[in-house]
């Protein structure tokens, strides 16, 4: 193999490289298609891994299904349960799961004692609501803080922010959530400590809204450090570039310089790492849901893991991974939209 040193393409390649919007859009579509094509085998492998792990698990599925009743169940009842759970090879169980999955039949959840499809359908929207609102809040806060800190690099606020965010980045999201709960709910009593609504109250927008504040805040605060720190760094770099300086020297008003020259450029590196960060966002929201008893997929996942409910565990793992992949795809599409230098075919 010949290794070639010249990094720059020849002049001809540079100029003919100009893409029309049409070919760029179709390249973005190709990107989406490629990601989907890649997600399918990944889903297969993940589900396979969950079922295989379930098979090697040393604990007894029937015992965990029966729970406390295990001691009192007779041998016949026990056999009935084992028959219900299916004492088959794990590959066969997995195959049944895969075949049923496209039709919505994801199996029977032993922990919730309901159809997995129904459990997932009821829980996924709450997870998405929490994640989207939390990330949106984190993004807005991040942009504001990054801009303030970058424009006044020697200000007290910038120093406090840099140090505070750095420290916050070391706090796991379940600690953020617990601390928020301890202070705002248990300490000051401003907001409810958990759940979707007050006990027994109907699911209304007002109820959910009040219960949503703390979880969203927890997700936002645990994601804020990386967003704000990366944006701050990128904004600082962008403010120093010749292009920003040149725009100012051409007489472009400062607000426009920030909006058109600084922020898009600063968003590019942040978006580029967002794709890699989204799995952690998902993980963080799992923890937040668990702390606040938010009836989302993450909480279901933890419950399923504790109860060794592998049908629900497989479905939740696959779906949450899918959410992370979809988020990564959206981040990359935004990158393609903002930065003309990114080649969708190379992402």
């Amino acid at each position: 193999m010949t290794t070639l040193q010249d990094a720059a393409p020849p002049p001809g390649a540079r100029t003919t490289g100009s893409r029309t919007t049409g070919s760029r859009a179709s390249a973005a579509l190709r990107l989406a298609g490629r990601r989907l094509a890649w997600a399918l085998p990944l889903v297969v492998v993940i589900s396979l891994a969950v079922f295989a792990l379930a098979a090697v698990s040393p604990t007894d599925a029937a015992a965990s299904f029966l729970g406390a009743r295990d001691e009192f169940a007779g041998a016949a009842a026990r056999q009935g349960v084992e028959g219900l759970l299916g004492d088959r090879h794990w590959l066969a169980s997995w195959w049944e799961w895969v075949v049923g999955a496209p039709g919505g039949d994801l199996g029977w959840s032993t922990s919730v004692r309901a159809d997995v499809g129904a459990v997932v359908a009821a829980r996924l929207p709450w997870t998405l609501l929490l994640m989207v609102l939390g990330l949106a809040l984190a993004a807005v806060l991040g942009v504001v803080l990054a801009l303030v800190a970058a424009l006044r690099p020697h200000g007290v606020l910038a120093r406090v922010l840099a140090g505070g965010l750095w420290a916050l980045s070391a706090v796991p999201s379940f600690l953020v959530a617990t601390t928020l709960m301890a202070v705002l709910s248990l300490g000051l009593g401003w907001l409810p400590a958990g759940g979707l609504t007050d006990p027994g109250a109907p699911v209304t927008a007002a109820q959910v809204g009040r219960h949503l504040v703390l979880p969203v805040l927890a997700v936002a605060l645990s994601q804020l450090p990386w967003i704000a720190l990366h944006l701050h760094r990128a904004t600082t770099d962008q403010l120093r570039t010749t292009s920003t300086e040149a725009a100012r020297l051409r007489g472009v008003p400062e607000r426009r310089v920030l909006a058109r020259h600084v922020l898009p450029g600063a968003a590019v590196p942040t978006l580029a790492i967002a794709g890699a960060r989204l799995p952690e966002v998902v993980a963080g929201s799992v923890l937040v849901e668990q702390v606040f008893g938010w009836p989302g997929l993450g909480q279901g996942l933890v419950q399923a893991a504790l109860a060794q409910d592998f049908a629900l565990l497989a479905a939740a793992t696959v779906l949450l991974t899918g959410v992370a992949l979809l988020g990564g795809l959206l981040a990359d599409l935004a990158l393609v939209r903002i930065d003309p230098r990114t080649d969708p075919d190379a992402l």
Partner: protein
């Protein structure tokens, strides 16, 4: 693409309607509403940053219709002039002296004292156009070049300019005006629809100047407009600056490129260590700088040579280098130039036997066995040809102190030799303080690091030197030191291949210069024809 071409044709047809000053060479005064002219007088400009005096008592006169070039090596403080005039000096900088801009209608502005806000609203872009250093980076990558220009046009829409130096075009913000302006600068209309990364450095430099000229500011400041450009692009940019001055504007060019100053300037100010060392017409000031051509050495045709026979290179499916013959004989310096990205480095790496060619062979007299490259060659054989990279920072191990980096290969080659004395001697020849060798790469400058890299290569006493753009990132003093040593090595019997985009310095050092031309089947090597030294400037009426 089709519709932009049409637009260009129609605008060319209707062009005379407006004062198309930049390219036509119409002098000042042909149109009473044409561009307001302005003079800038700088007196005793002294700038200090901490204890370091960057500029010391500089006087400059910028006169309409002329190009004034401030010339100096990097670090001489010349860019600080532009920063002072545009108010972009770092905080905590002390400024003394005066810089007064006076337009023909009698408005006077103190450029050093103007508050930031007034500068942004009244001066920037309208009275003083500035193309900052690194013109290639003057455009934000997320916007098309046209969007940048339209944005500047819109600036005029907000509030009247505070100083009466407006151009009659103002307010008539139209694509047509931009296309005309770009056309005058030798830019195709299609370029405006592109993003910066789709344009070459030369194209961006021109467009960067166009962006500074949208409002036809009477004063244009261009900071290193040709940095990093090849000779052809440099000449185009020079022509644009000369034409803008010829239209009655005042142009200040900051440059380290003597050739550019010679071609475009009416007045040259030489700056060294913050002081003006010479000021006057280019013919007077630049007289010492004419490249002194070394007498061509005569090398016997049968001298031992490093010979490439029909070597070719392919990257993926694309041919980079068409089958090429090239011979470097011992005792001669061969120059290799060509536009950036054409494959100069590829050819150099092939000749240095770092990479195996995709066709043909590289032969070195006395080399045993079949032709090989890279680690497949025996170490002693590899040491016969030294290769020095364009990027000194990438060519050294960042963890090691320089002394170890420099001495290690020689020690491994000959464990018994007194490498320290050898290296100290070589460092002296290259003007490198041996004390610097105890630092790590990131603690010395790029120039010092490149000198160290050359020391490392010469410590092995190679028969041939392949130097890949070794001077392109360096200031003039370092480049001259390195080229001197290269010439000495050639005189002592080494064969040298010198790769550079700087044709002038190649001509000064080399016995013959070859140029790589891009071609459909890969780059093609041809001898370089003689230079065309005609000046681009028009003398003011």
């Amino acid at each position: 693409m089709a519709d932009t071409t049409t637009t260009a044709t129609t605008t060319a047809g209707t062009a005379p309607r407006t004062g198309r000053g930049t390219g036509s060479g119409s002098g000042p005064g042909t149109d009473p509403h044409a561009h307001a002219a302005a003079t800038v007088r700088v007196r005793g400009l002294t700038i200090a940053h901490g204890d370091a005096v960057v500029l010391d008592g500089v006087d400059l006169d910028l006169v309409p219709g002329t190009v004034h070039a401030v010339l100096g090596t990097s670090g001489a403080g010349k860019s600080t002039v532009v920063a002072a005039l545009t108010g972009t000096l770092p905080r905590g900088t002390r400024v003394e002296g005066s810089a007064v801009l006076e337009t023909t209608d009698g408005t006077r502005v103190d450029l050093l004292g103007a508050p930031r806000r007034a500068r942004r609203r009244g001066l920037a872009g309208r009275v003083v156009g500035t193309a900052p250093q690194g013109a290639g980076g003057a455009f934000t990558p997320t916007m098309t070049v046209g969007a940048h220009l339209r944005e500047v046009q819109r600036v005029a829409g907000r509030g009247r300019p505070r100083l009466g130096a407006a151009h009659p075009h103002l307010g008539a913000a139209s694509r047509r005006q931009l296309v005309e302006l770009a056309h005058a600068a030798g830019a195709e209309p299609g370029w405006l629809e592109r993003y910066p990364h789709q344009l070459s450095g030369g194209q961006l430099s021109r467009l960067g100047l166009v962006a500074a000229m949208v409002h036809h500011p009477p004063v244009l400041l261009a900071d290193e407009p040709t940095a990093g450009l090849d000779a052809e692009a440099t000449r185009t940019v020079g022509a644009l600056l000369a034409a803008y001055a010829a239209a009655g504007h005042t142009v200040l060019v900051i440059t380290h490129d003597v050739a550019l100053a010679r071609q475009t300037a009416h007045l040259v100010t030489r700056v060294a260590r913050g002081r003006v060392v010479a000021q006057g017409a280019p013919a007077d000031v630049l007289v010492d700088d004419a490249p002194v051509a070394r007498p061509a050495r005569s090398v016997a045709a049968d001298a031992p040579a490093l010979v490439a026979r029909a070597v070719a290179a392919v990257r993926g499916d694309r041919p980079v280098l068409a089958p090429t013959d090239l011979a470097v004989r011992r005792g001669e310096v061969v120059g290799l130039t060509g536009p950036s990205g054409v494959g100069k480095s590829t050819l150099a790496a092939l000749l240095a036997r770092l990479d195996p060619p995709d066709g043909g062979q590289v032969v070195l007299a006395g080399a045993p066995g079949p032709e090989r490259a890279g680690f497949d060659l025996p170490p002693a054989e590899r040491r016969r040809v030294a290769w020095v990279s364009q990027h000194p920072h990438l060519a050294v191990d960042p963890r090691l102190p320089l002394r170890r980096t420099v001495e290690l290969p020689a020690r491994l080659a000959d464990p018994g030799a007194d490498v320290t004395a050898l290296v100290t001697g070589l460092a002296g020849r290259l003007g490198l303080d041996p004390a610097l060798l105890d630092r790590r790469p990131h603690e010395v400058s790029g120039g010092e690091l490149q000198r160290a890299c050359v020391v490392r290569a010469l410590a092995l006493a190679p028969e041939f030197l392949v130097l890949d753009e070794v001077t392109s990132m360096l200031d003039a003093a370092t480049a001259a030191d390195i080229l001197d040593v290269v010439a000495d090595e050639a005189a002592a019997g080494a064969g040298v291949l010198l790769v550079s985009h700087d044709v002038a310095s190649l001509r000064a050092v080399c016995d013959r210069v070859l140029k790589l031309h891009p071609g459909a089947g890969g780059a093609v090597l041809r001898p370089l024809p003689d230079a065309d030294p005609t000046p681009l400037r028009k003398d003011p009426a």
